[in-house]
């Protein structure tokens, strides 16, 4: 099970699809899980990859059904009273969502389950909600569920987090904080990806003389791009230091309209040609 984590807007969904392409090309049976109905995964993942969506509300209903609450489940979930009660045990929604993902992982129908997790702030609270609940709830079905989920999350042989960032300063700062948050909940780090790296390396080839001859409008843009490039390399360096490990860089394509084929091309560039 892979948990894809990162700040909003860094391309978690694209990265989830990229990992799905890679695993699928390697011949693995892949399940991708989106939280709260993000539909673009269907559009970006290759055919043959299963995509499912889990919403907190329906996961809670399912959980209650599984616990034998029958028709009460729906009424409870809809009345709003379960919400009030849930406040007494913060994180119950997160737990049932993770419980659902765990069910998928344990069902054994897939070789790998990739979870497109919510944005950073919520994702770490999602992971820590499990131990938080264990502190509060002393017994019963909720505790059992939390223990099960925790067992899976902390099993480095089965579960790992993939941290996604962009090379800009704020996302890298937050990703560095995210890495320590992941360590603190004892989840293994399976990998790190810098997404949307712009192809501005090429500009560093320009000599001083060439730069001085550029038309003013172009020169301004290119100077800004070079400054950004240097900042990006610096940020990626900080990210690598914090990880104590290498990162995979995924380039930004010249398109505002990513699709399945383009993500497949990015995956090939990142992993190399699939072994046939």
């Amino acid at each position: 099970m892979l948990l894809v984590l990162g700040k909003g807007g860094v391309g978690r969904t694209t990265t989830t699809a990229l990992l799905a392409h890679g695993a699928h090309a390697a011949g693995l049976k892949v399940l991708v899980v989106a939280i709260d109905g993000k539909s673009s995964l269907h559009r970006l993942c290759p055919d043959g990859v299963d995509v499912r969506s889990v919403s907190a509300g329906s996961a809670l209903e399912d959980y209650l059904l599984d616990q034998g609450f029958g028709n009460f489940a729906r009424r409870l979930a809809q009345s709003g009273v379960i919400e009030v009660v849930g406040a007494a045990a913060p994180g119950i929604h997160d737990l049932v969502v993770l419980g659902k993902v765990k069910q998928f992982a344990n069902a054994g129908q897939h070789d790998v389950v990739i979870l497109d997790a919510p944005a950073t702030g919520h994702a770490t609270s999602m992971l820590s909600s499990v131990s938080g609940l264990l502190d509060i709830v002393e017994g019963g079905p909720i505790r059992e569920q939390a223990l099960d989920v925790q067992r899976l999350l902390m099993d480095a042989g089965r579960c790992g987090a993939v941290v996604v960032t962009k090379a800009e300063t704020t996302p890298v700062n937050e990703s560095i904080e995210l890495i320590s948050a992941i360590h603190s909940v004892d989840v293994a780090l399976a990998g790190a990806i810098v997404n949307a790296v712009e192809p501005d390396e090429v500009l560093t080839n320009l000599s001083e003389k060439e730069r001085s001859r550029l038309p003013a409008e172009v020169a301004e843009l290119i100077d800004a791009a070079i400054a950004r490039h240097q900042q990006s390399r610096h940020n990626i360096g900080r990210f690598v230091d914090a990880l104590g490990n290498g990162v995979m860089e995924v380039e930004r394509l010249a398109t505002a309209d990513l699709n399945r084929d383009l993500v497949a091309a990015l995956a090939t560039a990142a992993y190399g040609e699939p072994v046939s």
Partner: protein, 356 residues
């Protein structure tokens, strides 16, 4: 379009997914209005440390409006605050209490604090209480709301409806009941529905919940009245919903889904800001022929991207409002000058590019 909103409306709600620059846009909309002489307060429900920094507020944003120091030639005022659900809840309880000592009792309940931070929807509901309070405050003539990321923003919009629904729900009435306290607890605990809840979470917790709700007895009427006022305010002509997205299919699809939810809630959005648009460079063939290979290669990438952005914006869902493009900045906004530049780009006609 944006200029009209900024000069006329009394509430502007900025909505968008995480990472699209929504908070920065809310701040620059506020600043743009201040330059037009208005008295503006920006409230962020999704506190980003950077906003406090960018506004030059020492110690960051507080839970009360703090005045931002602006250049002398700005005639209006800009104030900024962040929502702290626990503080707001205390404020609401204190102003709503119907008998002496009730506020202290309600606040002493251990649930009250945990409810503010962890009950789904409470933070969003507190946001509407805060907006209501700010709009009733004569010190301000424009309230700019920076909502949480779009998957939660709808909860802010719907918070008053949810509260009214909850107050009207049989379960709530059951829990509040009539008669003595012991009878109430007893009857609550014997209801099948509540017994089921008790089985999941424990009956002691259920009794605590009943105690918690009981502490609010008598406050329902004003909670309901305010909720109905906010319901109307979201839909009034003096409120504008501004959507913020990046110019990509992914982001536009997301904002379009959000816009659909707004439409189903009877709200129409007024503007769409496409933030971080790639700068287009038009160079004649002769000049481009003389450019070094690496420069042309990079410029081609840049102009392909810009063209692709224009294409996806033009192909956006027809229900989305008119687009205002804001170009990608060379660096993160980190001070009032940076925000002023952005505000200028947002309203100045010379920068405004309308997409047909």
């Amino acid at each position: 379009m944006i200029t009209d909103l900024i000069s006329e409306r009394s509430v502007i709600v900025c909505c968008g997914s995480g990472g699209v620059g929504k908070t920065t846009m809310a701040a620059s909309i506020g600043l743009a209005a201040a330059t037009l002489g208005r008295k503006v307060v920006v409230i962020t429900v999704d506190p980003a440390r950077r906003l406090g920094d960018a506004l030059g507020l020492e110690g960051g944003l507080g839970t009360d409006p703090a005045r931002v120091v602006l250049p002398d030639d700005v005639s209006g005022e800009l104030w900024a605050m962040m929502l702290d659900p626990a503080t707001e809840l205390e404020r609401v309880i204190r102003t709503t209490a119907v008998r002496p000592g009730q506020a202290d009792e309600a606040l002493a309940n251990p649930f009250t604090q945990s409810i503010a931070t962890s009950l789904g929807g409470t933070q969003e509901y507190m946001a509407t209480e805060a907006v209501y309070r700010l709009t009733s405050d004569e010190a301000f003539d424009l309230v700019v709301v920076d909502t949480p990321p779009s998957d939660k923003a709808m909860a802010v919009v719907e918070a008053p409806d949810v509260l009214v629904k909850f107050l009207d729900h049989q379960v709530f009435k059951l829990l509040m009941g009539t008669g003595g306290r012991a009878a109430r607890l007893l009857s609550a605990a014997t209801q099948p529905l509540l017994r089921a809840v008790g089985r999941v979470i424990g009956s002691n917790v259920l009794n605590d919940v009943v105690e918690f709700l009981r502490a609010f007895t008598g406050m329902e009427t004003s909670f309901r009245e305010r909720a109905i006022t906010v319901q109307k305010m979201w839909r009034s002509d003096s409120t504008a919903f501004v959507l913020v997205a990046t110019p990509t299919t992914e982001s536009l699809n997301e904002i379009s889904r959000f816009n659909d939810e707004l439409i189903s809630a009877g709200i129409s959005s007024t503007a769409l800001i496409a933030n971080g648009a790639t700068t287009e460079v038009s160079i004649d063939a002769e000049t481009s022929g003389h450019l070094p290979a690496s420069a042309s290669e990079w410029l081609r990438w840049q102009s392909d991207l810009a063209e692709s952005e224009r294409t996806v914006l033009a192909a956006r869902n027809a229900d989305l409002p008119e687009v205002t493009m804001v170009g990608r900045l060379h660096e993160d906004v980190h001070d009032v000058d940076g925000l002023l530049q952005l505000a200028d780009e947002l309203v100045s006609t010379s920068f405004r590019k309308k997409l047909q």
